[in-house]
């Protein structure tokens, strides 16, 4: 097939991105959704029609109306404002968690993959140990043990994500360890650490970035799941998971808007991130697309 692939070479990256987008219309939707989420995260508190914390028992549990698009909750707070403002916290938690696990996972993974031997064995055992846990329960345990704060939700989510990055980083580093350019760098007198930092790591980044964006959604779900069972977020701070959890008690009595809207926000956000992850993978490595 050498003849055919020859034509594919030399495509410019930007055209490639444009191509991916036109090829896959869903990605455009994802990018639009992403823009909305980021907008909400940045400007949410500014554009929210009401103070998300202000109670007004006189109008508690009002269904969606022109004044309150998503209705009001038990304390008469505006659900729409709360959903909007919650975007920042939810994104903050998941982005921090993913960033943290990315850094840790990438470091230990690429070191394991590159050096092999004992480094690999030890990190391997650590990763195995984490993987052998039911991850969500591990996260619960960590938050419960460390204390009930947002930071600890971030740490817990980060820890259970580390194996995924470590694995990807390890695999990428292990492939590149024997690559010609790494050998060449050795011959050029580069130390192992320098090779790891300048040759192996940057080349392993794209697949890890894909993993990261795919994991974002999962991280959000995990964080929301933790606060669903009551761990982490302090009231009255709006957060989607806890809003769903609290709203769940109201569904049967007909106040469906309490759980449905934050649930939808959560779902759409995760959905957007997953689609974005897909698109990113298409851009980074078209063959991997699944």
């Amino acid at each position: 097939m050498a003849d055919v692939t020859a034509f594919k070479a030399g495509v410019k990256p930007r055209n490639h991105i444009v191509y991916i987008l036109t090829e896959n219309p869903v990605s455009i939707v994802a990018i639009a959704g992403f823009a909305v989420i980021v907008f909400a995260a940045i400007f949410g508190p500014l554009v929210a029609p009401y103070d998300p914390l202000a109670t007004n028992v006189a109008i508690s549990l009002h269904p969606p109306s022109w004044d309150h698009w998503f209705g009001t909750d038990q304390l008469g707070r505006d659900v729409f404002s709360r959903v909007l403002v919650a975007a920042r916290l939810d994104l903050m938690i998941s982005v921090s968690a993913v960033a943290l696990s990315f850094v840790i996972g990438a470091t230990i993974g690429s070191a394991a993959g590159y050096f092999g031997g004992w480094t690999d064995r030890i990190t391997g055992r650590v990763v195995d140990t984490i993987m052998a846990f039911p991850l969500f329960v591990l996260a619960m345990g960590i938050v419960a043990a460390l204390g009930n704060t947002v930071e600890n939700i971030i740490y817990a989510t980060a820890i259970i994500n580390v194996p995924f990055y470590a694995r990807v980083a390890r695999a990428e580093a292990a492939i590149r360890r024997t690559a010609g350019f790494v050998q060449a760098a050795k011959l050029s007198g580069n130390s192992d650490l320098r090779i790891l930092a300048t040759q192996v790591f940057p080349n392993a980044l794209p697949p890890m970035a894909v993993q990261a964006s795919l994991n974002m959604g999962w991280a959000i779900l995990n964080a929301a799941g933790l606060s669903f069972i009551g761990l982490g977020v302090r009231p009255p701070t709006p957060e989607w998971g806890i809003m769903v959890a609290e709203g769940a008690n109201f569904i049967i009595s007909g106040e469906w808007w309490l759980a449905i809207f934050p649930g939808l926000a959560l779902m759409l956000t995760v959905f957007t991130f997953n689609l974005l992850g897909d698109a990113l993978r298409d851009i980074v490595d078209p063959r991997q697309r699944t």
Binding site: M1, A2, V4, E23, R121, G124, V127, A184, L187, N203
Partner: protein, 575 residues
């Protein structure tokens, strides 16, 4: 050799386009040729010439984004372009069969080879039930697979590459087709295997009265097995002629260049260059002779064993099959010397241990046993991880087999070349480094404007030059070349080989040239070492080994590598 009867296959003005993101790309343009009954037709071209696409179009198995834009293809008068999918399926396998390169991946890895043959027999209703099985065994026997009853139950991974190709041939011939298309059937196989496979194809073709199309990049191979050759370049046919005519009097300059560029048992490096190159016909550059000096490199009792090594992730399913095999000796008690200024060829087929040897000398791999001395200094004792900063590092450099793989995709050409200078060079300041990089680019004939490009923006030959420039950046005294041209087209190979010869003359380096191809090694090396299964089978001056080989293995090696017939007067006339 013209045939008077109707051609079996006729291709007229075939144009194939591929829809890509950049718009349609024409892979094959206006190609016409005929295949007569009983004829063996060679289609020869370098990569990107469209030779495979032509055959895929013929078989109707183009990728989803490819389509025949124009032209006619007929088989025995049947219009292949307008045949229904059902008709095409009947033609494929029963009338026209095809075999591919990489025989191992051409077989379903999780199905017994016998069953794979049976699948085809059943599909075309040639045989059913126990009869199909008997016939499958017969077919395996016919392609000279020993013990066919047992091999029937083998999975592809249990067979060698050559064996797999035999199975693929058995698949192709199962339904007694009238045409066999062999698409680079021996690429990736060792020369000795190549010969047996090609002989088998020829013999079977004769036995069954097959017409054959051999698609290859190797003119020598085509010359040895084909009656007529079609030469293609960038999707177009440049010349089509019977073998004797083509080699006797090539009409097209491209054909001529291709013929010239194919290394053979005699001739100079310069002669590989296209006739219109001013250096063509000049004498070879003379290496600065420093023979009789003290040995630059001494290898003694070098041994490498690979052991079964577990890894931390091993038990997890996604880490399947990462463990290495049980201990085996890749290199066994190897000793040789290399003098300053001398070039030594290290020749052998795949798995003979030649690359492992070069890696150990380069100190990229720790030997199990033995010593490597460079300029009298023992370097094998220094752990490979510590060697990076060792002063000997700069003296010892390497040119990699795959120019693409050996360049960091995120570095520009200039950055690649400057890497050793920055790490080990004594140069201070960005300007000096830049000047040196440009000097090196000049040295390897790399246009300066390419220095700012990334590897994927460079051609194969350009990448090879970047790799060579990087290797010579520190003025090493010994350069190890690991199949430096194996991934290149012959015309590019010719240029690179000349460049290497020039560099050696200019810089006075020693080369350790590792290759599977004696014809290539011969061009640059005074002495040659032939390896097999980790040990040296023959060693001597190149001329002597080429002309009067002492061992049967070397003889076999020489006899197996195909060689185009010498070009006759036409060439001289062109001068």
């Amino acid at each position: 050799m013209k045939t008077s009867s109707l051609p079996l296959i006729s291709v007229q003005n075939l144009t194939v386009e591929f829809g890509t993101r950049e718009g349609p790309v024409t892979a094959v343009r206006d190609v016409s040729f005929d295949l007569a009954r009983g004829e063996t037709l060679g289609i020869v071209g370098e990569s990107g010439s469209g030779k495979s696409v032509t055959s895929f179009a013929l078989m109707g198995i183009l990728d989803a984004n490819g389509q025949v834009a124009q032209g006619e293809m007929t088989y025995s008068g049947i219009d292949l372009r307008r045949a229904s999918p059902r008709q095409m399926r009947d033609i494929r396998g029963r009338e026209i069969s095809m075999i591919f390169q990489n025989p191992r991946s051409a077989l379903n890895p999780i199905r017994k080879v016998g069953l794979q043959i049976e699948d085809i027999l059943r599909e075309h209703a040639v045989a059913v039930g126990g009869h199909a099985r008997r016939q499958a065994v017969e077919l395996l026997d016919r392609v000279r697979i020993r013990d066919p009853e047992k091999r029937y139950h083998a999975y592809p991974h249990e067979l060698s590459g050559g064996m797999c190709q035999r199975v693929v041939i058995a698949l192709a011939l199962a339904c007694k087709p009238r045409v066999l298309i062999a698409d680079e059937p021996t690429t990736g196989l060792d020369v000795t295997t190549q010969k047996t496979i090609m002989d088998l194809i020829r013999d079977l073709a004769t036995e069954q009265g097959l017409s054959t199309i051999l698609i290859t990049h190797d003119l020598g191979l085509a010359a040895n097995y084909c009656g007529r050759i079609v030469v293609m370049k960038r999707g177009e046919v440049v010349e089509a002629a019977p073998v004797d005519v083509l080699f006797g009097a090539p009409r097209h300059p491209y054909t001529r260049a291709l013929i010239e560029a194919t290394p053979r048992r005699s001739g100079t490096v310069r002669a590989l260059l296209p006739p219109d190159d001013f250096r063509h016909g000049q004498p070879d550059p003379k290496p600065r002779c420093r023979a009789l000096s003290a040995p630059l490199l001494t290898v003694e009792g070098l041994t490498k064993e690979f052991g079964a090594e577990g890894s931390g992730f091993g038990w997890l399913p996604w880490r399947k099959g990462v463990e290495t095999d049980k201990a085996f000796r890749a290199v066994d008690d190897l000793s040789f010397e290399l003098h300053a200024g001398e070039s030594l060829g290290l020749v052998g087929e795949s798995g003979c241990g030649k690359s492992t040897t070069s890696m150990m000398i380069m100190r990229l791999l720790d030997p199990t046993q033995g010593s490597v001395r460079l300029d009298g200094e023992e370097i094998s004792a220094i752990p490979s991880s510590k060697f990076a900063r060792h002063p000997a590092r700069a003296k010892l450099q390497f040119v990699f087999q795959d120019p693409t793989d050996s360049l960091n995709p995120r570095f520009t050409a200039a950055r690649c070349i400057s890497d050793p200078i920055l790490r080990l060079g004594k140069l201070e300041g960005g300007k000096a480094v830049k000047a040196r990089v440009e000097e090196l680019a000049d040295l390897v004939n790399l246009p300066l404007e390419l220095l700012s490009r990334f590897p994927h923006q460079l051609s194969g030959g350009q990448k090879a030059r970047v790799g060579i420039a990087r290797a010579v950046a520190l003025n090493p005294s010994l350069l190890i070349l690991d199949e430096p041209t194996a991934a290149l087209d012959v015309s590019v190979q010719a240029v690179v080989l000349n460049l290497l010869a020039d560099l050696r003359a200019q810089l006075g380096m020693s080369y350790l040239f590792v290759s599977h191809d004696l014809n290539v090694v011969r061009l640059l090396c005074e002495r040659v070492v032939v390896m097999r299964a980790g040990i040296i089978v023959e060693e001597g001056a190149t001329d002597q080994v080429m002309t009067t080989p002492k061992t049967a293995y070397t003889r076999e090696l020489l006899a197996s590598s195909p060689e185009p017939p010498p070009t006759l007067g036409a060439l001289e006339a062109a001068e």
